[in-house]
Symmetry: C3
């Protein structure tokens, strides 16, 4: 699937937080996509007209940026291109929670990507978090399925195990490395990588799974010869640039589950 | 000429987009210049008073930032310091195009730097782009000369071949590497490097050519021992820091053409 | 002391400039702290409720950001968590100077961190700067003590020698490397590292000194195998991540002085 992305060179329009805007743009270039990061209300609708996908990220929200996201999201819906929502830190403040809810209400989101805490807060669920690494595998899947039912949207819950589900099918990925949690924007970039993969024309859930698996394998390759989170961040960009589909196929740890009616 | 820049340590004031603001500041430090990135309307005029050059970049415009650029540009004109304009993505949205036109109208720009598409859009030309690498050499020179005539300003058109011209003299540079197109802000940083070189007191076109040649050679040095766009981005900063004038002289591929009256 | 920081994993809320926001977040992750970079007036007070420390940095101020800093600062005071102020470029423009004064007036700052020029401007002192490296050791200590008297606050003056003082005790640190001045945000990140160390519950001046010493040693480790400011910036993040307390103890060059009444 990475070959399709590299061949298409999709233009991914990102409205994202100022912490990760550079890393996201560089990550998309490394992937073979073309990033554009316009975020002014004055031009986002026009910019979306050129784009193949839209990635929305609420990491450092301001009121004008929420407005820009809704304008861009509606333009993307009208054009029929995929829209990914990354609800960074939702639940941390009422402003952030309300903004995320507003975006969900006004824009047709193709898929949501976040960690278990963010994703469950987004759906207004009060799922008790069991702390890092305690039964996290079970939790992520449970959270994902509950949130899909609540939001009526496919979700990607990333963590020690990544879960990609639309409530009927459920993909589980066990790639990735701990250092991803030590680089700011590692999750944000993944959301934009998902947006790029969603432009391939493949089944949405399979494309999203392809993106998450590719990214997890890239992080494992990157972690091989590094000295800490600084060199890992750079090696991750290099790995995204160089990783080919054969290595992904050989390295991906993917499970596919048909969700039973009981779980649904 | 790099020695003059390093000796002078010019203070380059940048009003630039949020994607590349960190990379631009680090690139100017590596060059031996001193960057300042103030962009608030409340202080840009005061900050320009300390500066030796001003670099304007419209990559992530907002209405207040356009205002700040015009205030800073007028202050720079009054002080008599060089002003470089980088019209990132002009033509992509009406907002961006109008902002660039407004800046050109209100501020005396010393030189404009962009790729062939941006530069021709800036001049309102409808020059057909022939796609990547198809007759691009011929195109860049043709675009540059037409734009100079239209705008009445010297321009730098970067691409596979870089063209620096004021309509009478025309410098052509054949350095640089493909990876420059895979790092966000590589072009933006060049615009600020040009601003730094314009403070040396040398002939404007020669100083701009010196900057473009230095940067192209630095990118070639950087590309020697890297694994992808991540490590290239870091190596580029190191190369800018370490590159000396002898290596530039030995490596630069420079052509100088007197534009014939027919072309003018 | 680094072990306490890594064990506590303090949440450090940063309201900082857009140039260094990514580097600061990555530096705090590397340290073992958790960064949050929210800067909207709509949510900073709520975000501070989750935080263990607040770091304020005026590097690219706007009027709303000054407001956000004051709101966040007051919330931090109410909660009783430490607040670090980094008055970047104070004195360069009236806007910046007035903003810094306003923050100092409205918020109880735990400690201020800057270079000798910034720190003396902040206190309204007209201490003549003697240029880079000329008697800088003597100057930094003199500046620091005068500023403490003027502001009534502990200060960290960084430079060739770092001075940490509350006017009674004075710590001097002679670690650090020249390349720190060639990476944008190296000082800004230190301010946030200080904020993280202030959460350990240790004596404020000792905790601040621990942070400055740790950072200076990390920069020396980072400088060992690099090719310029690009690779240094990455190596610094790696060194912050890997450096253990034994190496710090063996490498730190620390002096402790009881300020005589004459100096006070």
């Amino acid at each position: 699937m990475i070959n399709k992305v590299r061949h298409k060179q999709p233009l991914v329009h990102n409205i994202t937080n100022q912490v990760v805007v550079n890393f996201t743009a560089n990550g998309l270039y490394a992937l073979g996509a073309a990033p554009v990061m316009a975020n002014a209300v004055e031009e986002v609708a026009d910019m979306v007209k050129n784009a193949d996908a839209l990635s929305l990220n609420i990491g450092t929200l301001t009121t004008p940026q929420v407005e820009a996201m809704i304008i861009a999201g509606k333009a993307a819906n009208e054009k029929g291109i995929p829209v990914v929502l990354d609800p960074v830190g939702v639940g941390a403040t009422p402003f952030r929670t309300e903004a995320a809810q507003k975006i969900l209400k006004e824009v047709d989101i193709s898929i949501v990507r976040g960690n278990a805490g963010e994703i469950s807060h987004l759906a207004g669920l009060d799922i008790p978090m069991k702390g890092v690494d305690t039964n996290l595998k079970g939790d992520n899947r449970e959270v994902a399925l509950k949130v899909v039912k609540q939001l009526g949207l496919p979700v990607i819950v990333t963590g020690k195990q990544d879960v990609i589900t639309d409530g009927k099918r459920c993909y589980l990925i066990d790639n990735g490395v701990e250092l991803l949690t030590k680089v700011t924007g590692a999750g944000c970039l993944l959301s934009s990588v998902v947006a790029a993969f969603l432009t391939t024309g493949d089944d949405l859930l399979e494309a999203a799974t392809g993106a998450v698996g590719f990214y997890g394998v890239a992080s494992e390759v990157a972690a091989e010869h590094i000295s800490g989170p600084g060199s890992f961040q750079i090696a991750l960009l290099d790995a995204i640039y160089q990783l080919n589909s054969d290595v992904v196929k050989d390295t991906i740890k993917l499970d596919h589950i048909i969700v039973s009616e009981k779980e649904m």
